[in-house]
Symmetry: C2
Subunit: 501 residues, 2 copies
């Protein structure tokens, strides 16, 4: 067994116990308990984003998978490799429709690029290998294993032949991109997926140096490497007016591992697709292609020099002072962010999203919510830290979203993960209040307030975190935040800082 | 609007804001915010069980529905009436496949008896009325409303004609049941669904008085009325050996609103169906029939007298002393349980399930997990208390399960609900350890322990509860539990008592 799987984020039940038993005899897999399947799924997503290799989840029947679905949806949109293993009732028991029976396959199809119910013990190792291989192009696989097949399978299950194949590079598409970037005046290269890691970004930087194109990425990329030695990549803004304003200046756009940009929600009077019909769009490679190789071919085709246009100057802002604001949170973080940090951003309305500021910081990984299912932050940080235990993880975490998967704090404490969680305690679903104001749906009457205000009662984040075993403090001034963040980063293990905004 | 809906348990997003806006102008609907959709769904389930009328949930797109699914699954198994309203992207925006897009209908079908995507503004009131009507026979309805249709629909949406029709009583089935109960020596009447409320139970008690049959119900009924003035109904045991032992003594069984009993999981060497093929089974009425009317016809057909065999003597156990055990928890609760209480049981291995003890207590409602998706307890209690604010609610809550939906405590505090939560802090998924020992899958090696032990770190339930705004204490002796339970029941609003077992 194992097939390259090193970590299993799990919350098993009775129908998964033979797999848990098998772990006792299979070397090399670490079991990590999550107190809720949403945490397990989100952690596996974070692990996959960091390593480009799948973690496994082990989830209990339909309800266990259902509880993980929202975070598997984010993993799908982030193109994370991730293998779900779900127990199913014994084949002969399923037709009795026992209480826990659900349509597991239908649930799995909503988030997975690959779904299979194992139908024979002999096929189990092969099914698992195929499931793992399917993850490697950046998708979620779900393998459903009936209880009786698990019981019989404990003996010989060596997984062989896990490999992934990208679609071949399309030379004609590269030729079209070369011509487009040469011939047109105002151009942008929109990079996504694996292109947002070092090699892809360096190729993109060569292309920019050769052509003067702008480098953009999706509003909510799953994973971006940023900082010194890499080019600055600008995220397309969230709100559609600003996004249209950025994109409208280009005659032509080359998409490299990114989808054509669309608005996050449908707003009356604004088109779904942010590019106009008179703007040329060249697809450099599909989502299943090797975008890094394609970008390197494109750079070569443009005769771009090896020296790329990357950021070389470290620029840190000064530490701000006074009452905390979203801006000061961003500045404090930028002033203190350590080398090689992993930044998990679910700050939403508190998140600055200042791509220029972060481009001049030490090299770091940056992750966003990708699929928009809130509560991804603390689980994703947990999985990222399991993947990279020596790197400091900082989670910028909106309070309303944090409450979706608050149980993640316990796994952070149990595994002594080096994670500092900054809770943006504005005590509301602020983004909804902003959207309400935008669309004029309502003037915030009593129902609107009841459904968007997170007080009363006020959540006491210090108590909640301590209750789950995570040391915590509360701050309301920028100086206090700097002190507490500095201390948290110095001490091993998880910390939580409630920021009263 | 409203259509008889009085309460909406909600966690809306941008695509549901026009509905939130509409609440401002529609009288009679109370909006209750839940910090996670699992809590909203579980609360709506509890409300439906108490009132036999649907509460509404308002959930955000696919991820919001996904987060509620496990608790909607329990609602389905409990046959709760429940109307989900889900926002969808605007009809013209959906095809752009924006980040939050999911296959909402496929998700909905896994738990709903009725699913519809609204396709025109004109049909919205009619769709809603049909969805509500479909809930009244005890099922979950899911109505998906695109954002643009919500925006257009705010004006005239009076919902008319909500009515429910049961399948007609089947006189031949009644005749077969009459003959069976008269002719056979050892018989049982297994009642379920609406038959577990006062009128059904009184008819069942008449039948028992006339025939000497035993009264049984499913292992995990959604809702049972118990106590003085009602017959004792015995739940079929959870573990299959005990269940077979109870059921094997009958020559014949009449099913009234209950399904044929099956084991909870498939265990090797034990059949799924607990009744043998040589045992006669008579189906008195289907799950969509009027089981109360059918039981009354059956009682009349048996010429049963009006006086039923019900429990008349109040018997309270003495308060136990010493270190807490699961038994002492049950005895303390039985000794102190107030009149007209609502008992939400998710105690699992701490739950006594002593049907004899509870039959001699004052009249009370009793609810169980029904579909087996853990974490139902605190949300269900919240919805039950919203439905019946003047009745004391006591939640007997396993700690591992409580952690699935711990956010429910905040809604209990916000709404000042009269709920006392007794956390059974045995700090493990004890049921899994029991199942492991039963099946001999493993000798509890390090992985098995890592995935079934809830410490380290120990959850500090007092801090967690206080963090969410609920007063809390911890006890380890039976005397302390009695004192704290007494105090909690005297004071208004929610309380949590951590029981160190």
């Amino acid at each position: 067994m194992s097939g390259g799987i090193r970590v299993c984020f799990a919350n098993p039940g009775t129908t998964e116990l033979p797999i848990v038993g098998a772990f006792e005899t299979v070397p090399g897999i670490k079991s990590i308990l999550c107190l809720f399947e949403g945490v397990a799924a989100g952690a596996a997503d974070g692990y996959g984003r960091m390593t480009e290799r799948p973690a496994m989840t082990l989830l209990h029947l339909g309800p266990g998978l259902a509880n993980g679905l929202a975070y598997l949806h984010n993993a799908r949109r982030a193109r994370s490799p991730l293998l779900n293993v779900i127990g199913e009732h014994a084949t002969w028991h399923r037709k009795a429709d026992p209480p826990l029976a659900m349509d597991i396959e239908s649930l799995a199809h909503t988030v997975s690029g690959w779904v299979r119910t194992n139908h024979s013990v002999k096929a189990l190792a092969h099914d698992t290998a195929e499931g793992i291989a399917a993850t490697l192009s950046g998708q979620v696989s779900t393998l459903i294993v009936p209880h009786d097949n698990q019981l019989a399978a404990v003996e010989d299950q060596t997984i062989r032949g896990v490999r992934s194949v990208f679609d071949p590079v399309d030379d004609r598409a590269i030729g079209r991109a070369v011509n487009c970037l040469k011939d047109r005046d105002a151009t942008a290269l929109i990079v996504g997926g694996r292109a947002l890691r070092q090699h892809g970004l360096q190729a993109a930087a060569r292309i920019r140096a050769a052509t003067g194109c702008d480098l953009l990425t999706e509003t909510l990329p799953g994973y971006v490497e940023r900082g010194l030695g890499l080019p600055q990549v600008t995220r397309i803004p969230y709100f559609p007016e600003a996004a249209v304003s950025v994109l409208s200046r280009y005659e032509a756009v080359v998409l490299a591992g990114a989808k054509e940009p669309v608005t996050f929600f449908g707003y009356e009077g604004i088109r779904s697709h942010l590019l106009r019909e008179d703007q040329e769009i060249v697809h450099l490679c599909g989502l299943r292609g090797d975008v890094v190789e394609a970008l390197e071919h494109l750079a070569d085709g443009l005769r771009a020099r090896e020296e790329a246009a990357v950021v070389k100057d470290l620029i840190r802002p000064n530490l701000p002072e006074g009452c905390l604001t979203p801006e000061k949170v961003g500045l404090t973080l930028a002033a203190l962010q350590p080398e090689n940090a992993i930044i998990v951003d679910e700050g939403l309305t508190t998140s600055l999203g200042d791509d220029h500021l972060s481009a001049h910081l030490p090299r770091h990984a940056f992750m966003t919510i990708a699929g928009g299912a809130i509560g991804y932050g603390m689980p994703c940080a947990s999985g990222a830290s399991v993947a990279c235990p020596d790197r400091p993880v900082i989670t910028l975490q909106a309070d309303g979203s944090a409450l979706y998967t608050v149980q993640a704090l316990w796994t952070q404490a149990r595994e002594a993960l080096n994670i500092t969680t900054l809770i943006c305690a504005n005590e509301s679903y602020r983004i909804l209040q902003v959207e309400m104001a935008r669309t004029g749906v309502s003037l915030l009457g009593p129902h609107s307030l009841a459904l968007t205000e997170l007080r009363p009662p006020r959540i006491d984040w210090v108590k909640v975190a301590q209750g789950f075993g995570v040391p915590a403090t509360t701050v309301s001034r920028a100086e206090e935040l700097a002190d507490e963040l500095h201390r948290a980063l110095e001490e091993p293990g998880p910390h939580l800082i409630e920021m009263r905004l």
